[in-house]
């Protein structure tokens, strides 16, 4: 009954439908693991005092998937005990309080999955070609992650 009996899997999905926390957590749960850590990015209702109506995401889908696969590979090098990794990112319109991204990682013990989730979201923000437009009442703005090294330095 070795840990090798269950092959580690990566579950990567970009989709326009509402994301499900239950679905993503079920993907990574494993009888060989005692820990699942998750991160959910949700839509805030305000930015610097401006009321946010909703967000719109677009992606360079094929490259985004391959960049997320790279993140998964890095996670497995850094934390070899990690079992399953799931990264679901929503595209198109995302209403306030709904999830734009859900990341879940399972591992036998908790430290690895917690650290891996933190690494995944930090690295996703720095390297995965996805863009967010914030729609206010009478204007909009393309956002720039502070983790993106080629973003305008003044931001």
């Amino acid at each position: 009954m070795g840990e090798s009996e269950e092959v580690p899997k990566d579950f990567i999905k970009l989709k326009s439908e509402k994301l499900s926390v239950d679905e993503v957590s079920e993907l990574v749960i494993s009888p060989y693991c005692g820990a699942v850590s998750l991160f959910i990015g949700t839509t805030r209702n305000n930015f610097e005092g401006k009321k946010v109506i909703h967000l719109e995401y677009e992606a360079y889908t094929s490259m985004a998937e391959s960049e997320i696969k790279k993140i998964c590979r890095d996670v497995r090098q850094k934390w070899p005990s990690v079992k399953h990794i799931a990264v679901h990112h929503r595209l198109g319109v995302v209403p306030i309080t709904e999830a734009s991204v859900i990341i879940a990682v399972s591992s036998p013990h908790r430290a690895e999955s917690l650290e891996a989730v933190m690494y995944c979201i930090n690295t996703l923000k720095a390297s995965v070609p996805i863009w967010k437009k914030e729609i206010y009442e009478d204007e909009y703005s393309w956002k720039e992650n502070k983790e993106c090294f080629w973003a305008n330095s003044e931001k």
């Binding site: 360079y60 490259m63 391959s66 996805i130 863009w131 437009k133 393309w142 992650n145 973003a151």
Partner: protein, 88 residues
């Protein structure tokens, strides 16, 4: 008289708004620096000039800075204009 190659140029987010389209086929030199390729693209879409210092390329889905390194392009290669990302 450099050999020309037809590549597929993809525009995203603000670059798609400025260029007014999401993708097109462009004839570009087979050997070209990233910076020269950017200038070619700006010639076709002058409004892109304003984001010059805030973009990188993805060539065959790998990031490339707009510097002096030589790109060797094959017919059909994907070159994407990548404004600052904001996923998550």
């Amino acid at each position: 008289t450099a050999a020309l190659r037809q590549v597929s140029v993809l525009y995203f987010a603000r670059s798609a708004e400025l260029a007014g389209l999401r993708s097109e086929a462009l004839w570009v030199p087979r050997q070209v620096t990233a910076r020269q390729l950017w200038e070619e693209i700006v010639k076709a879409h002058p409004r892109l000039a304003v984001i010059r210092d805030q973009v990188v390329f993805a060539v065959r889905q790998e990031y490339v800075l707009l510097g002096d390194q030589l790109l060797v392009l094959q017919p059909g290669d994907e070159v994407a204009i990548i404004p600052p990302i904001s996923g998550g």
